[in-house]
């Protein structure tokens, strides 16, 4: 056997993607850091992209506040990153990830809102550690009974858990259902003129906060991925029993995957609650989980950059369709967002089954598998 030179028939997208990654990889460490820092700075400037002539107005949303959309993207990206740990890294198919988002948001609300039966009315910051601890616990609680379940059984059970959370949120009196919790405090901090940094009319500070959290989470998740932990997850994903026989503590690492995924999802919930100031049971529907999963896989399951892109897209696309009138029925294109979105998902997956930015491993896997397909 010998490696044959790659034929130059690689599709454009793949090629440029590889080239970009290759290019970045070839640069010296300082250059690489400079590029990355450059990107980060640009990300922080996104709220002002509308000011950029010509392209700016194409990018920003029309029917809905751009900075709010950016903030929404930031917590969608968080959710995608968290789900990527569970699905992409550890290979545990979770169809109910929104449950953790809900737990994060609800614990925050219960601790802070004047509507809560607890009447604690903590500040937002004080609520965070409790909320995250509870979410992680929820992750472990979900993980524990499901440890023995294989792939798709796990999927339906996670879906069930999320539904249980939603139904409890809707129907249990203390969770207030559709009435919800209002007056959830915003993150603290005042500007020099005494007005709060995190107000209600301007979402930019929330976006910056969200982005910062995203960056921290990316760093953490990346460190985990490239370590014994990430390797163990991968081994579990490939052959759980063999992994265990090779000494991998499958239970421990699966629980960690759930806990970490839950933690990140909870973070998203905490941010969400802190921004809207009002939550009710309508937000945490099943379709939301499925959407996030679609984002992760579409972006490139198992790859951090992919998860970020996927998470951002699933929130950006529908919002971008807002305020555009369709020429035939004179309604907002927003009405068609899911139909268009579904079509796009199919298209993307058919063209790039490994996702938009696959991990190197997945990309290779697919390329190999593709050529192996027998005549049909």
């Amino acid at each position: 056997m010998s490696a044959v030179a790659d034929k130059p028939v690689v599709q454009n997208g793949k090629k440029s993607n590889r080239q970009l990654r290759g290019w970045l990889g070839r640069q010296s460490t300082p250059v690489r850091w400079l590029v990355i820092i450059g990107f980060v700075v640009l990300a922080y400037l996104l709220p002002y992209i509308g000011e950029v002539p010509v392209i700016g107005p194409q990018i920003i949303t029309t029917g809905v506040d751009w900075s709010t959309v950016l903030f929404e993207m930031s917590y969608y990206v968080l959710l995608a990153l968290g789900l990527n740990v569970v699905v992409g890294f550890a290979g545990l198919l979770d169809l109910g990830y929104v449950g953790f988002f809900a737990v994060g948001a609800y614990v925050t609300a219960l601790l802070t809102s004047p509507d809560s039966v607890l009447h604690t009315e903590y500040g937002w910051l004080v609520a965070i550690p409790v909320a995250l601890a509870v979410t992680m616990l929820a992750g472990v609680l979900l993980g524990w009974p499901t440890l023995r379940l294989r792939g798709d059984y796990l999927a339906i059970v996670t879906l069930g858990f999320a539904e249980i959370i939603r139904i409890v949120a809707t129907s249990a009196t203390w969770a207030r259902g559709d009435r919800g919790f209002s007056s959830i405090p915003h993150p603290p901090g005042k500007l020099s003129d005494g007005s709060p940094i995190f107000g209600v009319t301007d979402a930019i500070p929330y976006f910056w906060l969200g982005l910062t959290v995203v960056i921290l989470v990316v760093l953490g998740v990346r460190n985990l991925d490239r370590s014994r932990v990430g390797r163990s997850w991968l081994a579990i994903r490939e052959d759980e029993e063999a992994a265990e026989i090779m000494g991998v503590r499958t239970i421990k690492f699966k629980l960690w995957a759930f806990a970490i995924g839950a933690f990140i999802g909870g973070l998203g919930g905490v941010l969400f609650a802190g921004e809207t100031g009002f939550i009710n049971s309508q937000t945490f529907i099943l379709q939301f989980s499925i959407l996030i999963l679609a984002g992760v896989v579409m972006g490139g399951s198992g790859n951090i950059a992919g998860a970020i892109l996927g998470g951002a897209l699933i929130s950006y696309i529908p919002n971008r369709l807002r305020g555009i009138e369709d020429p035939f029925f004179d309604t907002d294109l927003y009405e068609y967002r899911f139909a268009l979105f579904g079509a796009m998902i199919i298209l993307i997956m058919v063209v790039r089954p490994q996702g938009l930015i696959p991990s190197r491993r997945r990309a290779m896997e697919l390329k190999d598998r593709e050529k192996e397909a027998a005549p049909q």
């Binding site: 056997m1 290979g91 198919l93 023995r148 294989r150 792939g151 798709d152 953490g220 460190n223 985990l224 370590s227 014994r228 932990v229 990430g230 390797r231 163990s232 991968l234 081994a235 994903r237 490939e238 052959d239 759980e240 029993e241 063999a242 992994a243 265990e244 026989i245 090779m246 000494g247 991998v248 503590r249 499958t250 960690w256 970490i260 491993r361 997945r362 290779m364 896997e365 190999d368």
Partner: protein, 298 residues
Amino acid sequence: MSEPHVESPEELDRLNAGPVDEAIAAGPSSSAADSSPSKYGDDVLLEMDNVTLRFGGVVALNGISFALRKGEIFGLIGPNGAGKTTCFNAMTGVYRPTSGQIRFQGESLIGKKKHEITRGGIARTFQNVRLFPEMTALENVMVGADAHFKTSVLSALFRLPRFWREEREGRARSMELLRFVGIEHRAGEVSRNLSYGEQRRLEIARALATNPTLLCLDEPAAGFNPAEKEELLGLIRKIRDTGVTVLLIEHDMRLVMGVTDRIVVLEFGKKIAEGTPAEVRDNPAVIAAYLGVPTDAA
């Protein structure tokens, strides 16, 4: 979506069994006998003590007893379906014996988790290759090496010194093992793409990476040609020389006879012979059940 794993009714029963069942399964002698010295003497590494394992109607192991001594190469042979692989599965915690004891370094293995057994010093390969197909050869071995590392989620998350140390060590050791089994040139290739023979070698490297005291090889030479078998023979000796005890299942008599110190022969789940290669080879029961015409060492 994931590849299903072994899930026999028995295993289900075992998983569902409460502590009461476990006590019954372990037999009357359970806890007292656990740490009792072996009747085979001090240098015993692993001891099968009257082990029986049933699958519904099939009695795969029927009161098997034998013992491995430290540092030897021990052969396990017998006709197809005699229960050899089942022996491995019982030792490594994949199946739980219906009755009997298995002791490793004086400690009972019954009821231990698979990864605990591995960390305790027993490593194995599989009769049907079971690598992590999408991981590179090197990564496959590193998973094995990870078994005796301690990098926790926190030290990985914050890149504490332990992380760096263990990562470096693990990588170096894994490369060394790949070299040892002769496939270091494929280190960066995903294991799915290796040929069958290479995959078998990789399995050995991965098992060795867990730092075992006992290495169990299930038909490692299957699919090797005689020349390659010769190489494998050398490799097994080399492994033994590093101080690892080897338990070998193999149908190739030349290999078995050439490398093992002692052999146990199973038939229909029963032990029918035990002894040195020469003794076993001339044992009429073994010839009748297994070898066929003695001269034809295929």
